[in-house]
């Protein structure tokens, strides 16, 4: 997502109302966003998203396609991206609440287009936070996995070479430095040989 800082953000607009979509397109353009595609709602949506790979999607909350877009979040094979909702002015309280709670973002339709930029910025920030959390979680998990491998290699060395835990660890570390491999990579090799 680092390119968000430097390049124009590519937005895909999903709206069946062509007039409203045109107004929003202009507002987005004025605020430095690039509207790469304007899509009619429908089952072809997923294919279009995959084809044009936007950085962000803006959709009317009254579109049934919200469920399709939300499911994209859950399907890891798709590149996750922020989805901004476009809702009725009547729902403004709900929307404010939603934004505070971390839903990517809602844009109130028919009102002040000047607010578009700040709402989009909040949405992107929220999304980044969420992605950072997810990345952190994956990292923590993989560190755990790596530690498990190292422990296993140590155990095998202790059992089969009759060395102490400290000696086993030193052996792994020495080999890691000598071969310029990571500790867990050395551990993997040891396991594959000794097991």
């Amino acid at each position: 997502m680092s390119k968000l800082k430097h390049e124009m953000i590519k937005v895909m607009l999903v709206d069946k109302d062509a007039g409203r979509a045109a107004i929003l397109s202009q507002a987005l353009l004025d605020h430095g966003y690039e509207v790469i595609d304007r899509v009619e709602p429908g089952p072809g949506l997923l294919a279009r998203v995959a084809a044009c790979m936007p950085d962000m999607i803006v959709v009317d909350t009254e579109s049934p396609d919200r469920d399709i877009l939300e499911s994209m979040y859950l399907l890891s094979e798709h590149n996750p991206m922020p989805v901004v909702m476009f809702a009725d002015a009547d729902d403004e309280n709900v929307i404010n609440e939603a934004i505070r709670s971390g839903v990517s973002g809602y844009v109130v339709k028919g009102v002040d287009m000047k607010r578009v930029k700040s709402i989009m910025n909040v949405a992107i920030a929220r999304f980044r936070e969420y992605q950072a959390l997810k990345t952190e979680l994956i990292k923590t998990k993989s560190e755990l996995e790596q530690n498990k491998l190292i422990d296993k290699a140590k155990r095998l060395l202790m059992q089969q070479k009759g060395v102490s835990e400290q000696e086993a660890f030193e052996a792994i570390r020495k080999r890691s430095m000598d071969s310029n491999q990571k500790l867990y990579e050395v551990a993997e090799t040891i396991i594959s040989v000794l097991e």
């Binding site: 089952p43 072809g44 979040y73 309280n93």
Partner: protein, 386 residues
């Protein structure tokens, strides 16, 4: 009278809300209910979670997802009323049905064989280097998704590897099939019958045949709201129960169909609405419809009883398909989301005879059975025939 806002999705199974409103069961309880038609499940969930609605017609697994905070904002939801059982079916495109027919003729009359035949098609496609079949369901957290996956895996098909499962909104299913964007789907009525009548697809099997009397939609409330308004919640349950009882009487079916067909509610032709009410599954290659009496059950066999064993099954499938981790305490979560005791307490006060337990053993009853002198429906899972 306090105004109560309830959101619903235009489907046959939202009927108790419409009947309770139109027939005055809400008014009898002193409730002034405003019904709001919604376009998507995500929308209905967000409006419930953020307080725009007091209650909502919702896919049962969405309550667990929201309570756990997956796919949306984390907010504990509860239910004490089920809108009914069954109502879904699996349909395939004409092209896929054609391929399946090469292995077995008259497959529309052999639902128990359909998944095994599908496996043969999938294997042959793999050998020929063709892409995997594309299936659609209505939402990642839905009985449609879990029933489809259950049925596929019973035939030895891996739903994550051998096919591709995507999400398409119910009213777009037929169009997606027609435009060759998907090869098959699992959806509620009238979207299976509609595909057959438009000659776009063929219905292979009903949800009832995959799991007899499976749960579907429930009345969802925020836990904090339900705790603070147990009096209103109680009245809602009584009104909806009366409505379900009314729906079950055949003499009311004409009026029911009129209510559902109305523009502000489901807005679909009477003919399509009636198929599910009458338990008819139509097929293009047969002159008559296949009769599945329990295709959709609105009231009989304790269809409105919120079984914690249903909630546990849903959670077990969420674990099976890696939507949630093994650390989730299924039993405890099922108890916190399904307020079975509350339902029983409310209706016992109104003289309704109800099961004394919150769980039943699922999958062991091949025929209707008695529990506390109350007739219960069968609950078997499909045995796919090779």
């Amino acid at each position: 009278m306090q105004k109560i806002n309830i959101g619903f999705i235009p489907l046959n199974d939202c009927a108790p809300l419409i009947v309770a409103k139109e027939q005055g069961f809400f008014a009898e309880q002193g409730l002034d209910v405003v019904l709001h038609r919604e376009v998507s499940w995500s929308n209905i969930r967000d409006k419930l979670v953020f307080g725009q609605y007091d209650a909502a017609h919702m896919l049962a697994p969405m309550l667990m997802a929201s309570t756990l905070g997956i796919g949306g904002v984390k907010k504990p939801l509860v239910t004490a009323y089920s809108f009914g059982l069954n109502g879904n079916a699996v349909s395939v495109s004409n092209a896929l049905y054609g391929q399946m027919s090469e292995y077995e003729s008259q497959l529309v009359l052999k639902p128990e064989k359909s998944a095994a035949v599908l496996k043969k098609v999938i294997e042959s496609r793999k050998q020929n280097g063709q892409p995997p079949l594309r299936f659609a369901v209505v939402f990642p957290f839905s009985m449609h998704n879990y029933l489809l996956r259950y049925w596929l895996s019973e035939a030895g098909i891996d739903p994550d590897k051998d096919v591709h499962i995507t999400v398409v909104p119910p009213p777009s299913m037929v169009k997606a099939l027609q435009e060759d964007l998907i090869d098959a789907y699992c959806v509620g009525e009238p979207w299976n019958t509609h595909a057959v009548k438009e000659q776009v697809g063929v219905t292979l099997i009903t949800g009832y045949e995959i799991w007899n009397n499976a749960p579907e939609k429930v009345l969802a409330l925020r836990k904090d709201w339900a705790d603070a308004h147990s009096d209103i919640h109680e009245k809602m349950i009584v009104a909806l129960y009366r409505a379900s009882e009314w729906i079950d009487k055949s003499e009311n079916h004409q009026l029911l169909s009129d209510y559902l067909a109305a523009e502000e509610y489901v807005c679909a032709p009477h003919e399509s609405i009636n198929n599910a009410i009458n338990g008819e599954v139509c097929n293009p290659s047969c002159s008559s419809c296949r009769k599945i009496p329990n295709f959709s059950l609105p009231f009989k066999y304790q269809a409105n009883f919120p079984w914690q064993s249903h909630a546990q099954w849903i959670l077990s499938q969420m674990q099976r398909w890696k939507q949630i981790g093994d650390e989730v305490d299924i039993k405890q979560l099922a108890e916190s989301v399904y307020l079975t005791d509350f339902y029983r307490q409310v209706l016992q006060n109104h003289g309704v005879k109800l099961p004394s337990v919150n769980y039943k053993q699922e999958g062991v009853h091949a025929v209707p059975w008695m529990l506390d002198e109350i007739e219960m429906g069968e609950d078997s899972f499909i045995l796919v025939q090779k």
